[in-house]
């Protein structure tokens, strides 16, 4: 196989792995933050009437 195609396939694999890792990390962080949030009514929020 020629070098050009090898490089293309390697970049594709890196994109898939890096994307999956980034997705997993960000998903976990957002999940943690969501668990800390308190659901409040609109009138109870400061600054809102």
């Amino acid at each position: 196989m020629i070098m050009r195609r090898v490089i293309g396939i390697v970049i594709l694999l890196i994109l898939i792995v890096a994307g999956a890792v980034a997705y997993a990390v960000l998903y976990r962080k957002v999940k943690d933050v969501e668990s800390d949030l308190i659901i409040a009514e609109k009138k109870d929020i400061k600054g809102e009437k």
């Binding site: 020629i2 050009r4 293309g8 994109l15 994307g19 980034a22 960000l26 957002v30 933050v33």
Partner: protein, 257 residues
């Protein structure tokens, strides 16, 4: 009177046209054909005396000759096989005289290639061959330029460099080694050149390593783009959320201070 009678008989018995009256009587001779007449040559007939057994007369038989009909193609010539045409003699219908002539096949019978111009590194060569059956029919062919691969060129150059005498070698034994080394170098050069020249037959028409952009390359590029777009769409909201959280935390810290 007797004299006159003897004179009369002697005159009549004299040979006329080479044959005497006595000899002209064919009952007393055997007739044989010495040489049969052909269509192009006269024949001869001989008369042999039964008494003496000698040839007394030789008669010429005129040549037969022919009155030929028109040529008629009996078998047509094809691309690979000869045909033939015939004509018949009209003069002697009772005897079948046939003349036959071969019709040369239409396909060529090529001779050896003759090189008109040898190919060089930047100019095509030319060669031709002639049809042995049909005069004037000739086929030309271009001989492609001599193409040596860059990789092979590098190998040749490397081999030349390796075989060339180094300065150290020359300095170590300048009197004796220098001549040998230079000879080796010249041999290496000539060998490389001859190797290069030898490529003309085997490497002609072989292209370099360059592979054009094909369907496989397009598929790889498309896959890369698709994966990048997919992750971008999926991760962008999460990243935005992360920034929002960070901003909120910073604001909360500022307020607490």
């Amino acid at each position: 009177m007797c004299f006159l009678l003897t004179l009369f008989f002697s005159v009549n018995l004299m040979p006329s046209h080479g044959i005497s009256i006595e000899e002209n009587n064919k009952d007393r001779y055997d007739v044989k054909i010495e040489k049969p007449a052909t269509d192009k040559a006269d024949g001869s007939r001989i008369y042999i005396s039964r008494k003496t057994g000698k040839i007394v007369f030789r008669e010429v038989i005129p040549m037969t000759g022919h009155k030929w009909s028109a040529w008629k193609t009996a078998k047509k010539a094809t691309y690979s096989k000869d045909g033939y045409k015939v004509r018949y003699c009209l003069k002697h219908p009772h005897v079948k005289h046939v003349d036959k002539k071969v019709l040369i096949r239409t396909g060529p019978k090529w001779g050896k290639w003759i090189i008109d111009r040898n190919p060089t590194n930047n100019k095509d060569g030319l060669r031709h061959r002639e049809d042995l059956l049909h005069k004037g029919r000739r086929e030309y062919e271009i001989i492609p330029v001599i193409n040596i691969f860059p990789r092979e060129m590098n190998i040749l150059q490397k081999s030349n460099i390796e075989k060339r005498p180094s300065r150290k070698d020359i300095q170590s034994n300048p009197k004796t080694d220098s001549k040998e080394n230079t000879q080796e170098a010249s041999e290496a050069d000539s060998g490389a050149n001859s190797a290069g020249r030898g490529q003309d037959v085997t490497d002609v028409g072989v292209s370099s390593n360059h592979v054009p952009f094909g369907a496989a390359d397009a598929a790889i590029v498309l896959a890369n783009g698709t994966v990048a777009a997919f992750w971008w769409i999926l991760l962008l909201p999460l990243v935005k959320v992360m920034f929002w959280i960070a901003r909120k935390r910073r604001e909360a810290e500022e307020k607490s201070l």
